[in-house]
Symmetry: C2
Subunit: 426 residues, 2 copies
Amino acid sequence: MSVSATDAQAAKVKIAILGFGTVGSSVARILYDSKPEGVELTHIFNRGVARKRVDWIPASVTWTENIHDVLLSPADVVLELAGGLDPAGEWVRRALEAGKSVVTANKKLIAEHGIALDKLARSKGCQLFYGAAVAGGVPVIPGLQQGLAGDRITRIEGILNGTCNFILSKMEDGAEFATVLKEAQALGYAEADPTEDVAGFDARAKLVILARLALRKDLTTSEIPAKSITEIAAIDFAYAREMECTIRQISRAELRGEEVLATVGPMLVPQASPLAWSRSTENMVLVGGAYGGDVVFSGHGAGGHPTAVAVISDLLAIVHGSCAIGLPSKKVAVSGDFLLRHYIRFIVKDRPGIIAQIAGALAEQEINIHAILQKPGHTKTNLPFVVIVEPCPSSALKRALTRIATLDYLLEPALDLQILEPEVEA
Amino acid sequence: MSVSATDAQAAKVKIAILGFGTVGSSVARILYDSKPEGVELTHIFNRGVARKRVDWIPASVTWTENIHDVLLSPADVVLELAGGLDPAGEWVRRALEAGKSVVTANKKLIAEHGIALDKLARSKGCQLFYGAAVAGGVPVIPGLQQGLAGDRITRIEGILNGTCNFILSKMEDGAEFATVLKEAQALGYAEADPTEDVAGFDARAKLVILARLALRKDLTTSEIPAKSITEIAAIDFAYAREMECTIRQISRAELRGEEVLATVGPMLVPQASPLAWSRSTENMVLVGGAYGGDVVFSGHGAGGHPTAVAVISDLLAIVHGSCAIGLPSKKVAVSGDFLLRHYIRFIVKDRPGIIAQIAGALAEQEINIHAILQKPGHTKTNLPFVVIVEPCPSSALKRALTRIATLDYLLEPALDLQILEPEVEA
């Protein structure tokens, strides 16, 4: 090896990949295809690493299942692509403590411990980038940190979970939930246990990260109300269509004074909203700024390659000497008490007086009915109908629905969905 | 003044604004409203500055019409918001030479001299940021530099000129060009002489900047074919609608091997494309990546406040020690020879044999006709009809249309629009 080659070698930023699954191998593949200047992959760590070895990785790369090989190595940047809180969180902490910069795609870790890890990184003079943690290949995080830092963002509305969007946009086209869930599982879009996605837990962690960067507020993930998409049926899409809406899993956070309103779950989305246009596993984020108005980002939120693009972009930012912009955020309590119109779908064994009783329970909470929809073609013994109520606090509606739940003609619990609209001023 | 106050003062990054027009005053207004930490406005420069003075700027700020007051001042960052190549280019150059970082919203300057200015900034250890130069408040530039640097972008399609989008989306709703142009002028969306916007020159400069960052190719602005939107008439929207399309001014650039195809002008856009959904002065940019697929950005492309958000975001990036990521680009020739379907609208004095002659001229260039559309309700003496041709090189079609232009039954030159679709592989 000539002297100049040695110098060039020495000048390269050394990279270790932790976790050689879908994203990890996509990252390595793109690095070898696109050969960005000044970067050298030195280590790949995975448990049971033997089964992970592939022949297209040069022999110079060390494969290891011992995390210390990475932590004690001269690697400058660690790409944490293993996911989960534990042990990935410990690895990230120790890498930062060892003076290594970290790029991570780990939404759970950043939602739970992002602020502490960021502080640790700063104290060590290292970088912590996590552009891949939300919306994969869609540059929402750099957009917020770098491009919209000058605005005062007051509202976020996002489609942050590709699995739910795949399921709901297929249901919009006529598919049944159970069928499309199986299809999503076969395609690798949904896990065998889909709870994390369909119940909104995955989206909730992402919303916490976005709220921190956009609203500059720290929310506690578990405080954000989450509703599962599993109760949505074909009939709800039919009624939504009548209201010129569709249904999507929406993650929403909004400033109200110093408080933050936040929620995740299926909502009625007006067809005129860009959020209604998202299809398949697409992700979309709308941020509303006091000065710049609404900005929309959309694209492929998941998958090996799109996520890898975000990871490599972060890596290149570090290699080029850029740094993450620290936007101070403030711990606040979460309220789910939006003041919105609601869609409430009942399935009843029909008999006289039902509407009167439901209307009565709503009136007791000072909730006005905006419309009652009842499509023909259903039997009286299993009759779905829909009540649209005027904007009301979610908490008041919950009290009314608890009361209504005791009525014996209800064949299943009422389905209550928020209707996505600009919130009404209280 | 206490010692600690002096220290705090000394630690602040000092800012000078060059150009106190719409954007400049928005920047100052937002700075005083949002009070970002560590920033202090020290100078405002404008020609004939006396008429610009406003009472909400603190007395500590120096108003000047002498550029040397700024260049010789201790200002750390200069915000160039005057626009145009000259003398703004000279100010930016001299500010960088004096070791000051520069944030500019000047698309013309960056399109023409961005690479040289970037080099100058690096040689002086200063920053040059220009996030506001394209699509105002929509963070496309940070998205490309920071968030998508890891992808290999092969295609850009954008709505980069709010004036044209305002005019064309109003025409889609039934307005006539002349009427809506007047409305745009009254609203301040269009200049008294709208040529720069409607002819595509403004969008062309922005496309050059995006091509540099996304495709990593340097294009020469004047080499990009630009077509004016002034020839578009109500009848074209009617025919477009029949083809499930609308019409928008599209700026488009695409890699073909090492060459770049690029063009700006009105095009037929399928209603299924996000670009068809843009309304009013909205800007939208779609970038297609080899790894991450399509990513779409949209929002308010112009106006004082949205542009000011981009300027202040760049300023905050500099204040926080971030730096622009230098993505090397390569000078290439521009070709406008896309291989696309075309919409060609003729207005003729009808007589037998017209279609045969037009078809003959197209056949000579080996161009196949896909469809002929002729809406009823027009007189034979002033008859519009449309020919849709299968994908063909723009150059071949141009030859055919030159030939057709000599035919005496044409009442006005044929209108030729590309139909926006993924380009057909040659």
